[in-house]
Subunit: 190 residues, 2 copies
DNA sequence: CGATTCTTTGAAAACAGTCAATCTGTGTGG
DNA sequence: CCACACAGATTGACTGTTTTCAAAGAATCG
């Protein structure tokens, strides 16, 4: 479990064994069954949650009760609602495991303490946030400029790991198109 | 000029007069005419750029040469390409003034030094990044779940300040719809 | 005032969504 | 091992929305 995280951090920043050990001790392992949720809308999201294996999905319901996929997460990704986490406000999102999944979690208190104690972790954290923002910008560009077929192919190419882990109707909901449209795109392109 | 920024910072964090003074001394004022750009694609974006008045637009061309509005900025917003700034890579974006605009700029070197020297500024910076990410998430949800009309009304309601500062065809390009569609939405709803 | 940019409109075509039905694969219980 | 249930994926027919293209009407600016 933790080895995955250690490798992940060491690839991003130089960090001492002591710091790693401290981070390890503050962490908890959680195993999730397929379909299990770590966040329901209305709850406050107050953990840092790193995926070591499996697959997760962040989603949200619209006013008609239709769910929309905000984001997926697989190994080495974080599952979170930054807004709820930062502000301590009730979340509008849900986070569920799409398959058997193992995550490392830290409470917000412990994570804050770790950030204060470890400059390397702090740097790593900043990088993660920056990377997340850049990813969002790219996705926004694809959503405003691509056709349905282009969005599909771009997703498949950019995130093959995710593409191969999640059901197609969730890919459709991630891309903002209907599953039928996605199905027809697939038929026409292969 | 600088007063706008000082007020902005003080509303976010507690900061000493000395720190403010230091930030002020490192800053430069730049006046932009309508249509003037501070970034062309291919260049490296290596300044922090705070808008004290006026209006800016971050945009990008797709492979057909059509431009798409990534983001707008008005007073108290930042104009940037985080990815180019962070990684030092050539930008894929363009940033232009949509009207006479005054910005405060810091070179990346100076800004980094300020962040290192002022914990308050660093905290403020983190908040800005977090807020930017949250904003992106909201926009993604609107792009994948709203109809064209809903996107329009949401934008108008959420960012009235921007809505009233930019031409409609750019609003359309920001929302990912054609100007004709936007025009018809407006006709049908008033 | 003329030039340019921005916005609106109409008609046709392309595109995507909906609904209902069917097909496919997986896993479960008998 | 089979039959059945269930979730996921596909298809067809239809509807509705959005884009495209071409043109004309405002608004703005030198």
């Amino acid at each position: 479990m933790f080895e995955v995280f250690e490798k992940y951090v060491r690839e991003k920043v130089a960090i001492s064994d002591e710091e790693i050990q401290m981070i390890r001790e503050a962490s908890n392992v959680r195993k999730l069954r397929k379909g299990q949720s770590i966040l329901h809308e209305g709850e406050i999201f107050s953990i840092s949650c790193f995926i070591t294996s499996g697959c997760m999905r962040v989603y949200r319901f619209d006013k008609n009760g239709v769910d929309h996929t905000i984001r997926f997460g697989i190994q080495n990704w974080w599952a979170s609602d930054q807004e709820s986490y930062n502000k301590g406000t009730p979340s509008e999102y849900n986070i569920e495991a799409l398959a058997a999944t193992i995550v490392l979690v830290w409470t917000k208190e412990k994570w804050d303490a770790l950030l204060a104690a470890s400059p390397a972790l702090r740097k790593c954290n900043e990088e993660i946030l920056a990377r997340g923002y850049e990813t969002s910008q790219k996705r926004i560009f694809s959503l405003i400029s691509y056709s349905a077929a282009e969005k599909y192919h771009d997703f498949q190419k950019t995130y093959p790991g995710i593409f191969n882990s999640v059901p197609l109707h969730m890919v459709a909901s991630y891309l903002g198109i209907s599953r039928e449209t996605l199905s027809r795109i697939r038929r026409d392109f292969s």
